[in-house]
């Protein structure tokens, strides 16, 4: 792809495109450039993987622990609201 040589992206640009890439909002050409860069650059491929894992881990954050006091308060509130 000789015509694209001058427009190859560098790593510092690639990391800024990661979200657009994952959201599917890059142009077709932008996507091709980004993927070509990833194939040639293990560091940026690793970076993308890190972002994917960050997203996955964020999705597995567990709910806060619940104290017995909080539980009692909630039950009391609930009864009050139901009886109002």
């Amino acid at each position: 792809m000789l015509s694209m040589r001058g427009k190859d992206i560098v790593c510092q640009e690639a990391v800024e495109l990661v979200t657009d890439y994952l959201e599917g909002t890059l142009s077709r050409r932008g996507r091709r450039q980004f993927e070509a860069h990833l194939r040639a650059c293990p560091n940026c491929a690793a970076y993308l993987e890190q972002i994917r894992m960050t997203i996955e881990l964020t999705g597995t954050i567990e709910p806060n622990d619940l104290t017995p006091e909080a539980r009692a308060d909630l039950t009391e509130l609930y009864r009050r609201w139901r009886s109002d």
Partner: protein, 230 residues
């Protein structure tokens, strides 16, 4: 009036005072609910006046709700009031939930409306300050990585458990600018779609993407720092 403030423990309070969520229910004399019950199962029980179902739902959404509300109001206390008001609205108006959207989308919409009307500040737009997904210092003068990027997926896989990193991500989320936090909470924690998030927060898709990018890259950076220490 009792407050549900104590649910929103700060991280430093959490370890000592709070038994694990499961323990609370294990010790309960009442019939227990599994944490994995779906929202719809819980809602069905809530319609029948099931207190346990209420407690489980509140616990499940307390954190994201506080984090969402915080973007509109001046203090944590006001955010807590907005959350509590929302639950009161849910309990009293449960029949109004028609199931056209996911329960949590309905819940978040009520919350955001309440927090907005209680709020004094709202940053509608992403800050125009320069942002870097990765600290420029990590690149050489040609814009290429100065040092190899570690692969988390290989030797570090077992180190990347939710149990270990949940609290770190949690505090990272707390520290994000409010709008970034809202978008990351809704997209990556609650797994709402981009369209749903734009509608709930009343922001453009472009703005949403910028906020998501900044939030995610910041959280990645936090994990990277912690993993390097581990």
């Amino acid at each position: 009036m009792p407050r549900i403030r104590r649910l929103g423990l700060r991280p430093e309070e959490r370890s000592e005072r709070a038994p694990h969520f499961d323990d609370v229910f294990r010790d309960s004399p009442r019939p227990t609910l599994r944490v994995v019950d779906t929202d719809l199962e819980l809602l069905t029980r809530l319609r029948d006046g099931d207190e346990e179902a209420f407690v489980v739902l509140v616990a499940r959404y307390q954190q994201p709700m506080l984090q969402l509300a915080r973007a509109y109001v001046p203090s944590r206390a006001v955010a807590e009031e907005a959350v509590q008001d929302t639950w009161m609205g849910v309990v009293k108006g449960i029949e109004r939930f028609e199931g056209r959207s996911a329960f949590k989308t309905w819940l978040f919409r009520i919350l955001i409306n309440r927090a907005r009307s209680a709020g004094v500040r709202e940053h509608r737009h992403a800050s125009r300050e320069p942002h870097h997904a990765v600290d420029p210092i990590q690149f050489d003068s040609n814009g290429q990585w100065a040092n190899p990027v570690e692969r988390w997926t290989e030797d570090s896989e077992d180190r990347l458990e939710a149990r270990t990193w949940g609290p770190i991500l949690q505090s990272g989320l707390e520290d994000l600018p409010p709008r970034q936090r809202q978008v990351v909470v809704l997209r990556d924690m609650e797994e709402l779609s981009s369209d749903e998030v734009c509608e709930l927060l009343d922001i453009s898709t472009g703005n949403q993407r910028v906020l998501l990018h900044r939030g995610r890259t910041r959280l990645r950076e936090i994990l990277e720092t912690q993993i390097a220490k581990a």
